[in-house]
């Protein structure tokens, strides 16, 4: 194993390092107590994954990952938390000493035990599944650049693009509706009721 490790070229080394970083950052997201810290870790994870994308020969995706995912979606997260005060510490609602789980008192171990086992099993399974097929394909290092993606998007996948825009519209309207402050729109409804 170590010999194969030394034979890695810089590309592969960077890839594995970035992958490790992504994994560690994700773990810290999932187990964090402070909301904003978890979000920041999520940003780190996304950036690391962007690096991985670049190293896989998908620079356009890497760019999109940084700009859209980390730069828009997570910023949305951050702003929402800050503006609506959603970022209260989880410790407020953490399981207390008196809770019971599987009949014994709650502590860090048995709280995470079940999910951890389940996840481990799932992971093992996935790994086996991946390795059992003939997926050990040889990759070329040809990159797929933005032009190729664009041709595909505005060609065969045109309809999907339009539907995606519908999805965003729905998200927009739904987001507005659910997040609007109380009282807004009620007076309007009353007006309509009087006239209609």
């Amino acid at each position: 194993m170590i010999s194969t490790f030394i034979e890695l070229n810089p590309l592969q080394l960077t890839f594995y390092f970035a992958a490790l970083l992504a994994i560690v950052a994700s773990v810290k997201v999932v187990t964090g107590k402070n909301t904003v810290h978890a979000l920041l870790y999520l940003v780190v994870s996304l950036l690391a994954v962007a690096v991985c994308f670049y190293l896989m020969g998908a620079p356009f995706a890497a760019g999109l990952e940084i700009i859209v995912y980390a730069g828009a979606i997570l910023v949305l997260f951050v702003f929402a938390i800050m503006m609506f005060g959603l970022g209260q510490d989880e410790t407020l609602h953490a399981p207390s000493v008196n809770d019971r789980i599987y009949g014994t008192k709650v502590n860090k171990f048995n709280l995470w035990l079940g999910p951890f086992l389940l996840a481990l099993l799932l992971l093992t399974e996935l790994v086996y599944a991946i390795n059992s097929g003939e997926i050990q394909a040889k990759l070329t290092s040809n990159t797929i650049d933005a032009k190729q993606v664009g041709i595909l998007l505005y060609g065969p996948y045109l309809l999907a693009v339009e539907i995606a825009s519908f999805l965003l519209l729905a998200g927009l309207i739904g987001g507005y509706h659910f997040a609007k402050p109380e009282g807004v729109g009620l007076e309007r409804k009353k007006d309509i009721g009087e006239h209609g």
Binding site: S26, Q88, V127, A179
Partner: protein
Amino acid sequence: MIAIPLSHILILASILFVIGFVGVITRKNTLFILMSLEVMLNAVGVAFIGAGSAWQQADGQVMFILILTLAAAEVALGLALLIQMQRRFKSLDIDLLSKLKG
């Protein structure tokens, strides 16, 4: 030149997916559940990009773009619901939403 084998990329995707899954199951705070969902979505994106790269087709990246769109819409709506939840229940504990019990 041998680039990264597809199986390794898929293993990375699986690990990230499973981490996100654990987070969804374990965390009580709905915000953390949403964040874990993002992790899972991201992992799926990794898998697609890897597949597209392996078969030298741009379809993987197209799929990734669509997933990105989906994630954006989902986050918007999810946060909006979170805001509603905060207003009604004064807390983000997901176990409060158990009216479908029984």
